[in-house]
Every structure is written in structure tokens, then in C-alpha cells.
Symmetry: C2
Subunit: 111 residues, 2 copies
């Protein structure tokens, strides 16, 4: 059985946000993102894929489309295909996110 | 911005597990499952869709394929397409799960 425990896997880098892959299938990927204070995932857009962020630890500043919200542990955010989105850690604590994206943009030739 | 806070949304029924939809797109759905002690999601199989469970509260007994594991908060489980899977709350506390499924089986005609 494929099981991952994020508290054992999370890690941080002074250089930039760290992405840790938990699972990858033809349909989706599931990552953990680890952000030190002041680190961010810059605004970007996926034209075909939807992304879900779930806040595991800390407080994130989320951007989706033209909107912005500051969200803590237990919040889930949808970044639908076609809308620019990103996240920034403007707090003084580390930020850890569970991230699911579907379809998996790393799979070029879906069955 | 579509944001959901599961602690405000979770609810339980004495009759059976409660599913609360957070988001639904052409590519995925994201639900919260709420199980009282002794409630379960029976073993079943999705032939095309992958499911991810994340334990938000409590302890779950997870079944994927022929395997079984007891998992607490912070664990993520992959139930890949084609493998039977289910979850049971054999503990004395409530169990709350974040569940993502992709592709969305409720969408019959994908673009």
C-alpha cells in the first residue's frame, strides 16, 4: 500500500521552496510544498489542469485569478485550470502545503 | 476564490458516513468524509480513477488491494485505479478524511 507521512518527509531549503512528490499516476500528482518565510511559488497558469492546495502547517498568502487570501491550517483552495495562481509565505513561520494537480501535466500521452 | 475550511463544514450522521463536497471540476472532485466510530466506506473499485485519502482527524483502517493499514493524522494513502479500496473507523473517536479523486467519475463526457 502506498502511504506517505508528510511530517517525516518535509524538508526545507534556504534557496527556494522544496517540492516533495508523494504520489504520481497518469491522472494526478500529489506533492508536499515546503516554504521558508519569504519563499513563494510565483504566479503561473495551467491551461488544462486544476490544482488543490491544503494548508498542513503555517499560514499562506494565496493568489487565484485576481483574488488574494491569507489562509491557515485546515483550509483548502482550488486553483482551476486557466486561472493564474501562486502562494507566498509572508509569515515568520514555515509553511507546508499538500498539493494535488489533475490531470498530471508530467504525463504527455494519456491513455 | 474558492476556499473551504473543513472544520466548519464537517458533519456526522448516526446512520452512515457523511460525504461533503468541497470542489468539483471536470478533472477531479475533492470531498471531506466524516465517519463516526464503526462507520465505513465499503470496499469498492474504480476502474479508471485514482483516489487519495488524507487523514485530517482520528485514526482510519485503510484497505487497498489486499493490504490493510491503520493510519492517523497526517498520513496520505493512494488507492490507484483498478484496486479495491475502502476505509473503516474501528476507533472510538470520529474520523475525518480529505479525499481527492481524478478523473471525476461524475463527469461522463470529458472535453
Amino acid at each position: 500500500m502506498q502511504v506517505k507521512f508528510f511530517t517525516e518527509l518535509k524538508k526545507f531549503s534556504p534557496d527556494k521552496m522544496v517540492k516533495i512528490n508523494l504520489f504520481e499516476t497518469n491522472n494526478l500528482f500529489c506533492d508536499v510544498y515546503c516554504l521558508e518565510p519569504q519563499q513563494s511559488q510565483k504566479l503561473h497558469t495551467h491551461h488544462d489542469a486544476d490544482k488543490i492546495y491544503f494548508v498542513l502547517e503555517g499560514i499562506g498568502h494565496f493568489y487565484v485569478g485576481e483574488e488574494k487570501q491569507t489562509l491557515g491550517v485546515g483550509n483548502t483552495v482550488l486553483a482551476p485550470a486557466g486561472l493564474q495562481h501562486g502562494v507566498e509565505n509572508l509569515s515568520e513561520e514555515r509553511l507546508v502545503l499538500l498539493v494535488v494537480m489533475s490531470p498530471n501535466p508530467n504525463v504527455k500521452n494519456k491513455a
